[in-house]
């Protein structure tokens, strides 16, 4: 069952078409990564899904059209995490920031408190609850923004370059947490990024270029198109690059995303 449906979407800024007859479906409970070079229209698509652009009758979430009438109901169940948390914070402490959305939905204070404890421990931000969000580092801000989205217990999580300020080690931890939400709680995840290392946690990779889907597939098979990815300016995961280069010397015969296994294969 498709939880997000985009059918023949056309969108333009002035005379420049970003999407022309663009279609994409996302199945419930999956994690889809949508990647593409800078300026390809990733953030535009996020804004369309969030109802921040005009009403688009050709975009549906939970089978409902994303329009003025439905958007309030849709947003209650979709967590959005945007690239720059500074544009989003409204409160004086991280704790208030986490509570904000549930308070607006008139959730009982005790429930909110319990939820804040749960989410802040999960993301490792429980030591930041009394801090002003604007005093945090970029990575910490993004963790808080993710926490705010998770507070809602969303059915869909939409991430727009949401982890790019987080360092590589912590990014892996956060991606594992999101993966758990995806597999255990059946939260559908749609992540927009140009970092294909992040994509390795998802089930499906969709690559956009000039308003069209040029690659759509599962891992690691999708990396057979590595050259195309590079050509449009995407950086493939290091393991893919290494596999491909070792393949030239017949030291490995397929792409392996696990470096330890790759070295074993080379040295067998």
């Amino acid at each position: 069952m498709n939880i997000i449906e985009i059918n023949n979407l056309t969108f333009r800024y002035g005379n420049k078409f970003i999407y022309d007859n663009f279609s994409l479906n996302v199945e419930r409970g999956t994690w889809v990564t949508i990647a593409g070079p800078n300026g390809v229209g990733k953030t535009t698509l996020v804004k369309i899904l969030a109802g921040l652009e005009k009403n688009y009758s050709d975009v549906k979430i939970f089978g409902k059209k994303v329009n003025k009438k439905n958007i309030y109901g849709i947003r209650k169940e979709v967590g959005f995490v945007f690239d720059n948390p500074d544009n989003f914070f409204a409160c004086e402490t991280v704790e208030d920031e986490l509570a904000f959305s549930l308070e607006n939905l008139a959730v009982a204070p005790a429930t909110i408190k319990k939820k804040i404890r749960e989410i802040s421990e999960l993301l490792g931000i429980n030591n930041l609850l009394k801090v002003n969000p604007y005093e945090l580092s970029g990575g910490e801000k993004q963790k808080v923004a993710l926490g705010c989205a998770l507070m809602l217990e969303p059915r869909i999580l939409i991430l727009d370059e949401a982890l790019m300020m987080v360092d590589i080690n912590q990014r892996k931890e956060l991606l594992k947490i999101i993966k758990d939400y995806n597999t255990q709680k059946r939260v559908t995840v749609v992540s927009f990024t140009h970092d294909l290392d992040e994509a390795l946690y998802s089930d499906r990779l969709v690559i956009l270029n000039e308003g069209k889907i040029i690659i759509d597939g599962a891992f690691p098979k999708v990396f057979d198109e590595e050259r195309v990815m590079r050509k449009i300016g995407l950086e493939v995961p290091f393991a893919v690059e290494l596999s491909q280069k070792l393949r030239v010397y017949n030291l490995v015969n397929k792409i392996d995303l696990d470096i330890e296994r790759l070295v074993d294969e080379v040295w067998k």
């Binding site: 070079p37 580092s137 990575g139 370059e161 987080v166 070792l246 010397y249 470096i259």
Partner: protein, 289 residues
């Protein structure tokens, strides 16, 4: 332009219940005309170091010296005007601060603030654009019509217009795709070699850093984990990993290769060299060498 941190400590909210020590008695020497990288996990003190060396904040104790500028006390007579000329800071997502209608106006803005003589501004704008590899045709274009990589370069040009001796960049490659990132790396190398700039990069993009920097300062919990030449710093993978400092991918592979085979690949500059060395070791094992 050299940067010196001597016994520097810094605490946020000093004396309050939520006091947080960001830097703890660090000593750092960053030599002039080199590219330096500052790395570390979230909350390690990277941004605090950047703010201290740019005079945005004062150390709780110790001395911060940038070239001839003593930044520890920042007395009323401190010459911020000439300091801002000599030290350029490029923030994260600098392009988000654009507000002029043309690239030329955007780049000229800081010069106008510093009351530079107007007759020179056009030349300075062109020179700054040239330094970042953009031609004169960009002068009349809207900065908002550019792609992400071009915007980032315009933002750097708007700092370079004052011809700073020291350029400090906070996460310069963040949000850029691979092509834009490579162009930016070439630009930074060029600024060092051709224009003799000292460059300090604060980032968690260690693969990028590994390719372009000379020296590295690795931080964790406000303390120095290791500093020095990048080969020296990255040679101690165990120490860095123990301190949650991100390690460059090629270095990680070298460590895995050594753990599994007992063979040391030595200092590896990039992926191509890594592959060449692995192929060579494999051939030696097969007796082809």
């Amino acid at each position: 332009m050299e940067v010196i941190f001597r016994n520097v400590s810094f605490s946020y909210n000093l004396g309050m219940s939520n006091e947080k020590k960001a830097l703890d008695n660090i000593n750092v020497f960053l030599e002039g005309n080199l590219i330096h990288g500052i790395i570390g996990p979230i909350g390690s003190g990277k941004t605090t170091m950047l703010e201290l060396m740019n005079g945005i904040t004062k150390p709780t104790s110790g001395e911060v010296i940038v070239g001839n500028y003593e930044l520890s006390s920042l007395k009323n007579n401190f010459d911020f005007n000439s300091f801002r000329y000599d030290v350029g800071l490029v923030y994260q997502f600098p392009e988000k601060q654009f507000f002029c209608s043309t690239v030329g106006e955007e780049i000229a803005f800081s010069s106008k603030i510093f009351k530079s003589k107007n007759r020179n501004i056009k030349d300075k704008v062109r020179k700054a654009l040239k330094m970042v590899g953009l031609d004169d045709s960009y002068v009349k274009r809207s900065p908002f019509s550019l792609n992400a990589g071009e915007k980032r370069r315009v933002a750097i040009a708007s700092v370079l217009i004052s011809n700073p001796k020291l350029l400090i960049l906070d996460e310069p490659t963040i949000g850029l795709d691979n092509n834009s990132k490579k162009r930016l790396m070439r630009l930074l190398k060029n600024l060092k070699t051709r224009y003799m700039k000292t460059i300090i990069i604060v980032t968690h993009d260690v693969d990028m850093l590994y390719e372009i920097v000379d020296d590295i300062v690795a931080l964790n919990g406000g303390k120095i984990v290791k500093q020095g030449n990048k080969m020296e710093v990255f040679s101690d993978v165990n120490l860095l990993e123990k301190n949650k400092v991100p390690v460059a991918s090629v270095i990680k592979v070298c460590k895995i290769f050594k753990d599994k085979t007992g063979l040391d690949l030595g200092y590896v500059k990039n992926t191509n060299e890594l592959v060449r060395l692995i192929v060579r070791k494999c051939k030696e094992k097969e007796g082809d060498y």
